[in-house]
Amino acid sequence: MNNELNEYKTIALQGLWKNNPGLVQLLGLCPLLAVTATLTNALGLGLATMAVLIGSNVLVSLVKDFVPREIRIPVFVMIIAALVTCVQLLINAYAYGLYLSLGIFLPLIVTNCVIIGRAEAFASRNSVVKSAFDGFMMGLGFLLVLSVLGASREILGQGTLFEGADLLLGDWAASLTIHLWQVDTSFLLAMLPPGAFIGMGFLIAFKNIVDKQIADHTTTPAVTETVTRARITKVS
């Protein structure tokens, strides 16, 4: 039982920090850099990606015993493509404003390597519940990086936070928008993709500093994990 709990803890830690899809695996950079101009867009895409990730992990884990190794990739791709199309239709129907502002990046979730990466590296080898949890944690890790990047770019770029929250959450959320200061012209560097690259660089640097601090403070080396996890280094 204790062992089981530990394993979930490891999965959570992997998704949120040690093997974070945004900061460590550097997967899904294209949407990560493109839609994080505002917090609302970042949250929207993050949630959509998380939904697809959980769904695809569960489905892949369910079918892993029937699918021979040779055809697993096309099967995974089909599952992911179908899920993304469904999520796209649902957002189109129930969050039309968000659908318009995410535009082409919504169907492009299908090309996010995090999803096929987790299907191949985790879900095809683990139980349904663990896979769902892994999808949730990886999705959450991705969502957090998107949100931090989106929030900081929005503050620096246009001096607001949560602009257009009503597109994502409904009309009541319009009051969530915070105007921190008035800018005559938006700070373009933060708004454009280079700003996203720079912000991303700072986030990774910050993570490395924290990791180093932790390593310096721990006198006893951590117990080495024997769970092998495929580390995917391909950049999408």
Partner: protein, 212 residues
Amino acid sequence: MKKSMIKNGLLLAVFALFCTALVAVVNQQTFDKIKQQQQLELKRVLHQIIPDELHDNELTEYCILIHDEDALGIDEPLPSYIATKQSLPVAIAIEAVAPDGYNGNIRLVIGINTAGEVLGVRTLNHSETPGLGDKIDLRKSDWVLGFNRKSIQDEKDRLWHVKKDGGDFDQFTGATITPRAYVKAVKNALLYFNSNKDTLLTRPANCEVNYQ
């Protein structure tokens, strides 16, 4: 070897069927809602290009279907909406398609008053490259406002091109195909309106809009 190929092929087919079924079900469930959302969006856009003070009718209720591939860029009937004031036509919003964009059809709507002057143009739907071709979207850039108050004399009007081709409209850095297609679509619709003005504006409403 042969056996495993057949087995794998069949398995793939089963998965394809399953995935298609899933998408089909979701599509059917969301179809009406999406249609309704698009109608709301259309209403919002029409409201922008034909100002309220010009007309006193509900735009989406006076709608005619136009089927003309040369003028509207697609071999399908497309709706146009006629604005009237005291039952006299004052303006029309024509839906058209730019078929030669960079990536698929661009759907747009053009508001024209009875004098043949553009009241406004908006993009309804497109899949142009983000950051390059998507400046046709008012959310990204105010390029479409450049059409406001423009009119056209005849087919050979030199101004109705992008600047690169000697015309009056900016192209986008790195994306000339999109604005070129767009200007052409607006131009064709405008020419069509000029030469069919009288028959268009007196046609009875003949398309059902399921607006709720």
